[in-house]
């Protein structure tokens, strides 16, 4: 194992100390694992709290700041945070206008955020929750825990964050967040397996010359394995799967996301193919974001998220944001 770490047990705490050193505009509580924008609670503003396992950076800590999240709770690597963290975060960001929990649909995240919501409500915080479940690789059926929350989390956090920054009330921020999730779809592809610090070896075997289609963001294997495909073939496959699940009736926000170990050179080339594939299927792109935003440690590969966006969603997407990983317009 070659990793730039001290010991596996302290990777999350060590990273948080580094975040604190790089971002004085954030309050980083290393011991209790909560990252909060320094000016919180902002008077008159709804608080936005998200969180999940570490290893997906910049999600979520990199999205804390004006125009996006008020606080983030990083768990252990690929493990949801514990309720204590969310309760602390909610208390830190609640100005009296209420708090929205943005939860990715994984059993652990759901259970811990539910427990936290009960505790925070006991302490008098007005709470709403939105569940992100955009991954079309998972068949929605009675038998699974439902679709996973992946790339759409970024769209939900950005758009709900912009609305909250404008002073929208909790019910409005919540309904916008839910709407973004409803019109978003994602699909991911792995070109290599992931190595967690605790295990120290790849979580699954992926021989060179093969790829996994329909992966999640926790190093879990996908649904299907095939012989390696070209960027063009992957784009066609991915866009077909996305459009078959939900054909956008208007322009989309597009996220071409790297899983951590795929260079921007490849991601931009892939983005060109995704644009071509969308155009051929009659889908127009309003805005494009390319980069490593919802990652999976050292996994090579990519995911594509489409969010059908009317004028209002595009306006909120364009609104100023100032976070470590997403920053424009101010």
């Amino acid at each position: 194992m070659r990793m730039l770490i001290n010991v596996p047990e302290t990777v999350v705490a060590d990273a948080l100390r580094g975040v604190a050193a790089a971002h004085p505009e954030l309050t980083v509580d290393v011991e209790n694992r909560v990252i909060v924008r320094r000016d919180a609670p902002v008077a008159g503003k709804v608080g936005l709290v998200s969180g999940g396992g570490s290893g997906h950076e910049p999600l979520h800590g990199g999205f804390v700041g004006p125009g996006m999240l008020s606080a983030a709770c990083p768990g252990e690597v690929f493990t949801s945070p514990v309720p204590d963290q969310m309760v602390r975060a909610a208390a830190a960001v609640d100005s009296g206008e209420g708090v929205l929990f943005i939860v990715k649909n994984y059993t652990g995240d759901v259970l811990n955020f539910e427990m936290a919501a009960e505790l925070a409500e006991d302490e008098g915080v007005r709470l709403a929750k939105v569940l992100v479940d955009d991954d079309v690789a998972v068949t929605d059926s009675l038998y699974t825990a439902g679709r996973r929350g992946t790339g759409a989390t970024l769209f939900v956090e950005k758009i709900a964050g912009a609305a909250a920054e404008e002073g929208a009330p909790l019910e409005r921020v919540e309904s916008l967040a839910r709407r973004v999730d409803e019109v978003s779809r994602s699909f991911g592809v792995a070109l290599s397996a992931v190595t967690t610090p605790a295990k120290g070896s790849p979580t699954f075997e992926l021989p060179s010359g093969e790829l996994e289609l329909g992966i999640g963001i926790h190093g879990e294997p996908g649904r299907e394995r095939r012989a390696m495909m070209t960027s063009r073939e992957i784009a066609d496959y991915t866009v077909d799967v996305l459009v078959a699940d939900r054909r956008p009736s208007g322009p989309v926000l597009l996220l071409v996301n790297g899983m951590g170990a795929t260079p921007l050179l490849e991601l931009y080339g892939f983005n060109a193919e995704v644009h071509r594939a969308l155009k051929e299927r009659g889908v127009t792109v309003a805005r494009t974001l390319v980069g490593n935003y919802v990652t999976s440690l050292d996994m090579a590969g990519c995911s594509v998220t489409l969010c059908e966006a009317d004028e209002e969603l595009v306006r909120l997407w364009d609104a100023p944001v100032q976070t470590p990983a997403l920053r424009w317009g101010r």
Partner: protein, 201 residues
């Protein structure tokens, strides 16, 4: 009769077993999950052992509630709330009695397992920890001799998850590809019951 000391032995015994088996649990989890079940439970039960050494609650119920709270606060993932709820609910059912009968424990543990099923929305056959816990509940009876039977039933229940298709939890995303692997949650639940049987001796 079972006193607070018995329940401390059970939980510290579970911690020791989890320490010993952590690598195997993580290996099982890497096949169909995300390769951290062993290290997560290890972190949680280490906290349980430390909390019990520091606080030394005087009733069986208080021991279990304290342990469950530690698991919820330290483990995260799905295992934290599920195991935490199992122990907390079992402890609450026992109330503040200084000693409980094996039969009272069996009934309380059944309520704890039902709470786990309610929280996770799973049932036996979904390839989860319930596949080890429910056979154990069925085996538990009015005397401590049944604890060994519960251990055996849980172990068999865990092994019986191998051919199952996962329908809950992260392994469910794999669909057909989850078949052929033992469920890590069922495997760790079998350790909990193994420690229960050991605590009698």
């Amino acid at each position: 009769m079972l006193d607070a000391e018995f329940f401390r032995r059970w939980l510290t015994g579970t911690a020791a077993l989890v320490d010993r088996e952590a690598a195997r649990l993580t290996e099982l989890d890497s096949a169909i999950g995300d390769a951290d079940h062993g290290s997560n439970l290890q972190r949680g039960f280490t906290a349980v052992t430390e909390a019990l050494a520091k606080d030394a609650p005087e009733t069986p119920g208080a021991v279990l509630v304290l342990a469950g709270g530690q698991l919820i606060s330290k483990v995260g993932g799905a295992s934290g709330p599920l195991y935490g709820t199992l122990l907390r609910r079992t402890g609450k059912e026992l109330g503040d009695a200084a000693e409980v009968t094996p039969g009272q424990f069996a009934a309380a543990f059944a309520a704890g397992v039902a709470a786990v099923a309610g929280l996770g929305g799973a049932k036996a056959g979904d390839k989860t920890m319930l596949d080890a816990l429910e056979p154990a509940v069925a085996a538990l009876g009015a005397d401590t001799d049944t604890f060994a039977a519960a251990r055996d039933a849980a172990g068999q229940g865990a092994r019986d998850t191998v051919p199952l298709l996962a329908r809950k939890g992260r392994a469910s995303y794999l669909g057909e590809r989850s078949i052929g692997h033992e469920d890590p949650g069922a495997a760790s639940s079998a350790l909990l019951l193994a420690a229960l049987a050991e605590a009698v001796a």
